[in-house]
Symmetry: C2
Subunit: 576 residues, 2 copies
Amino acid sequence: MPRILRINTRERSWRFEEPGKYAGLGGRSLTSRLVQDEVPADTHALSAENRIVAAIGLLSGTGAANSGRISIGAKSPLTGGIKESNSGGSFCQKLARLDILALVLEDKPEPNAPLVNIVLTKDGVRFDEAGDMAGKGTYACMDAVSERYGKKACAMLIGPAGESLLTGASIQFSDPWGRPARAAGRGGLGAVMGSKRVKAIVIDDEGGTRFGYADEARFKAASKRWAEILRAHPVTGQGLPGFGTAILVNIINEAGAFPTQNFRTGRCEHAPKISGEVMAEYMEKRGGKVKEGCHAGCIIQCSQNYVDPAGEYITSGFEYETVWAFGGNSLIADIDDIARLDRMCDDLGVDTIEIGNTVAIAMDAGIIPWGDGKAALKLLARIADPSDALGRIIGSGVGFAAQAFGIDRVPTVKNQSMPAYDPRAAKGVGVTYATTTMGADHTAGYAICQNMLKVGGDVNPLGKEGQVETSKALQVATATVDSLGLCLFVAFAVLDTPDAVQCICDMVSARHGIDFTPNDFIAIGTDVLKVEQKFNADAGFTPEDDQLPAFMKREPLPPHNVVWDFSVEELQQAKV
Amino acid sequence: MPRILRINTRERSWRFEEPGKYAGLGGRSLTSRLVQDEVPADTHALSAENRIVAAIGLLSGTGAANSGRISIGAKSPLTGGIKESNSGGSFCQKLARLDILALVLEDKPEPNAPLVNIVLTKDGVRFDEAGDMAGKGTYACMDAVSERYGKKACAMLIGPAGESLLTGASIQFSDPWGRPARAAGRGGLGAVMGSKRVKAIVIDDEGGTRFGYADEARFKAASKRWAEILRAHPVTGQGLPGFGTAILVNIINEAGAFPTQNFRTGRCEHAPKISGEVMAEYMEKRGGKVKEGCHAGCIIQCSQNYVDPAGEYITSGFEYETVWAFGGNSLIADIDDIARLDRMCDDLGVDTIEIGNTVAIAMDAGIIPWGDGKAALKLLARIADPSDALGRIIGSGVGFAAQAFGIDRVPTVKNQSMPAYDPRAAKGVGVTYATTTMGADHTAGYAICQNMLKVGGDVNPLGKEGQVETSKALQVATATVDSLGLCLFVAFAVLDTPDAVQCICDMVSARHGIDFTPNDFIAIGTDVLKVEQKFNADAGFTPEDDQLPAFMKREPLPPHNVVWDFSVEELQQAKV
């Protein structure tokens, strides 16, 4: 049975323990339960009392397609509430091969203690000095990891932003090619890891073993059906592998919900120039790769190997959200500059959504010109220097930079930046932004499915009807998917395929030797949200915090000229 | 009957109106009622929807001693809640001579509209271009005001910090000598004024008239008794005029509640070197003035003219709080450097408490060395440059700078910095910090009286008993005093003098021709707190926000080794 590994970062000690009260939990259900139980809700997120927990999901370490997502949980230094952020890459599956259910970083050393790499092998845990990895970008760090620990070693690591304790800092993860291009981006978790003076957690899974199955035949049958389901759906089978998530650029822009120039309008004139279609065209012409999975067993393959005109690698994991933040919200029209910005964010270890939008704030404040990709690259580069005060401001996110520059147009909820859908013209995901425990977050309840894509239903994005119910149901289902280790994109297929939930239940039952039913599928997600809501209430969040900024209630968004018109009371109906 | 003057800062228009629903209110009772009624609680504090209101008190413009305090109200960009900050200086009395009860700045122009001076005379209102006053410190601005509007003109003005919209920005007021050394310091109100592109409000009260009295004989008799009361009490009659508020340095340090090195201990070794006694000695030796009132009719005279070794003026309004923030919390041992820091804060237009403590945060982050007064002066000077990112960070206050530098020891409540009394060893004022609507604020309910000074009672500062009741009663009484235009220091005498409240009631009754009783005295303050609590609830504040930071619950404060041990539920008993 996979165990929990507890690591004390002050004493550099470690021990394994049985799951105990965390038995039967995985992914987000484990991380949120542990944070709620073990982290005082009133603590400062960079204090010794905060914990980072990385947990594999209930289907991780199996042959199920798209089951390799790792969940990271802690109290967020950005929102002040509970956070779960999940990521692709190899880390989850290699943790599973070492028979580890979850890894918990506890305590913290003195602020100037040397940075360490924590190395996990089949023989146990050791602490290496990070040495000259300190202060380096994640790409250089992965080169060092390769040299020191072998090409097959994978890592969970922070860049200079996390070392500097900036609230926009991500935790990056290496992909199957050893590139640090996957991210647990949202909520500043990189700063928590930095506060514990951990540069990287490295896994060498040599000699590790695969999980068994309680009922292998049943698992294989369900898993086969599962792969068919994912391949058959147009989004997971064609759209995402063909064009990546940036397929959404034209869709959301046409819908008039593409936030442009710091959320002033819902449509950007040059959006077609920075779309997934254009990116695919360039990659084909230049010798990039249109289609890559971010972990072994991913069959959706929405990632890519994006290259410059000379065919040299620029970046991977190049998402719609990133293209939008720099291209739409910050008005940069050059997709190659945006690709370089994406790579730079991965290298610095910052969330592309948060920091992309912070660039828009900086443009609103006149720090750099609107749409100037080269100036944006120079500005972001400053984040790497802990003594550069402007770099620290930019690396701390939208709410922070807006306060620094006296900007009163601040598109955040619970101090987390809104993502790539203006809630006034996409009201379902707006309900999610307002009410999820995570702060303004699209993945937590991706009602774009029903509002824009006609997946899982068809709900008018511009009206109020049906949005609260849609968001609530999605938030529950998403919390379950996040607990299984499954990539969220499976939801497109699951929402439209009648036997998909039962198929998932069959896989869970067959893996663990339990009777996991569709009722359990709903119950897991509901319990997760209750635990998270309690933590946030104890941390001081109130129904008034489950609301969008005032300017969105007052200012109609072109082209549809819609305002945000949900009251606090109406929104509370989306809570469990 | 004094009128309300409404000024639209976008259109540069103005009109007078009768008090209407604000009749019978003054000072904080007027500002808080107006903010609650006219400012949407969810608005961004720098948006066009916020308003700044300056209101004279119910006893202002009379011959009553110490009745010249002006109250300034708005939604605070620092706390996100309601704010009232009051100040000395000549502004209140000159506003009264123009028969103005309150002045309201509404709306705002474009961010790059030219800065204006709004000039009030007996003939009305006009808008002058601020011209080359833009970007200047308040001392140079007062020279310009003198030149342009005459030596008798007084002003309410912002420095570069307010122009830069920094959340640590104060509003400064000129004293009877034309120096901008008085402040409405707390809560970032200077940024609100800056967002409306107003550099100064200037009053030339030439041709103005004095208020009449409904019953002049009764007023004079009560006013005579009032002056006797203030002169007779040892604090108001001897301690404060003799040594200023810095008389508290040795007292609070002896008591072990003098927060030292970012709230790590309660006692500072060099405190005696920066005490009020030492300051008085220097002023006497060097030819300064130990005793000055901040407005005509002030008989407590706690201010001073502090000079350098050559006898040259450095600063005035040199308070205990400022000496502590730079001298105790930031460990600067040179009282003359601290005086220069006080002057610099007035000149920049920043709150000495907030920014003094931000210097301690900067020292904790290793930006400058602990105790280095010269380095602190250099650091603060950067606030004047809007393009200096480090200056912007420092000028934005404790919570902001702590986040910028990843500091997890953050002594704030509702994002406002704690003042000069560690709540673990001064639990009465700790209850005030937690529960007042103002954020961590000592004046809102100054339980130091009962805890340390044995004024108005004797309550052990280290225990829980009696603190909630004491703080609550003081918060109510203070809200009343703040509505009368009286200087808060009258409270020392009032708490110990049985006929003082009746004397105040006699003055109010005789001025206004009403029957104002001790029950009304209590009712005014209670109503103010209810209005403020409602605004804050609508703005999203919750009982969990009425609490001190976690580290104060965990970490015992030397020398008494006390922790903060009030629960959220216990603290709610201090609310009305």
